[in-house]
């Protein structure tokens, strides 16, 4: 064993160096976002194919969707992205209380989004528009439904982070979970940015 020399480095024990941990966690989340994009990717591909095939149908049926509700939800989500981003900056500067407030606003936005969607779905079902109605509504329900699941997942993550923050777990020195959780929340926003024009604004 001459070739690979073993030398003593200063890292003892099982703990990973916090800097490595930070960059690993963030990188890991980016990879995960890549997966998410391709998960939605199947739906986007189906959308592209069917929209080209059934342009008329898409145009007719999208009128059933409520652009105002969609637009309100867009504004709500983008605003929540803003508060989330500000939250990350806040804790990086060590402002724990500000982070809590911003997280609460973000979560409330998420809930508002969900409530809004609840009414939207309700209205659709009242008009007997279900996933089985047509390819357009199948896409509509699948895309927004899968997105909705992600909103719920995001809300859960943020709530956990909020509780941890209230317990004082985060500080200017340690805030990786906030930044990583924030990335996930932004993805939810990012996907909605596409869903809104694709589903609600077909002209």
């Amino acid at each position: 064993m001459e070739e690979i020399a073993m030398e003593d480095t200063h890292s003892h024990g099982h703990q990973i160096d916090p800097k490595v941990e930070y960059s690993a966690a963030k990188f890991g989340m980016w990879l995960f976002l890549g997966t998410e994009i391709l998960l939605f990717g199947g739906l986007f591909a189906a959308y592209a194919i069917f929209r080209a095939k059934y342009a008329e149908l898409f145009h007719e049926q999208h009128k059933e969707l409520d652009v105002t509700l969609g637009a309100i939800n867009t504004v709500v989500l983008i605003f929540s992205s803003l508060t989330m981003a500000m939250g990350v900056s806040a804790i990086q500067r060590g402002k724990r209380n500000l982070l809590s407030i911003l997280l609460v606003i973000t979560i409330l936005c998420g809930i508002a989004f969900g409530v809004n969607k609840y009414f939207e779905y309700g209205a659709k079902f009242e008009h007997h528009l279900t996933p089985g109605t047509s390819i357009f509504f199948a896409l509509y329900f699948m895309m927004t439904g899968l997105h909705m699941l992600h909103v719920f997942a995001g809300i859960t993550i943020l709530t956990v982070l909020l509780v941890l923050n209230l317990k004082g777990k985060f500080s200017a020195n340690y805030n990786t979970p906030i930044e990583v959780g924030g990335l996930y929340w932004h993805l939810v926003d990012l996907i909605w940015i596409y869903l809104f024009p694709l589903l609600y604004l077909i002209s």
Partner: protein, 108 residues
Amino acid sequence: MATKTHSEEHHHDHEEPHIVGNSVYIIVWVALMILTGITVWVARHNFGVFNIVVALGIASIKASIVALFFMHLKYEDKLTWTFALYPLFLLALLIGLTASDVFYRLSP
């Protein structure tokens, strides 16, 4: 890829969270709101085939802004960029090559 990530190795030793000022965020947010307004406004007008182009174009600008600023992609290393863009490339492949099937089928 290897050499790229190789240099990144020296990088992550002093990787620090990049703190962005709130003013930047507010500007970004205002831009996003304006763009949202534009998409809705544009959708009421008919530009023929360009409708979808415009709609997706604006959406992509918005998405890039979110990624670059809110998600700090602007300050990330090459490695993160690679893994952020590669899925998009694959998505384009999935759509493009599938379309090469669906839209070129001949009927007998």
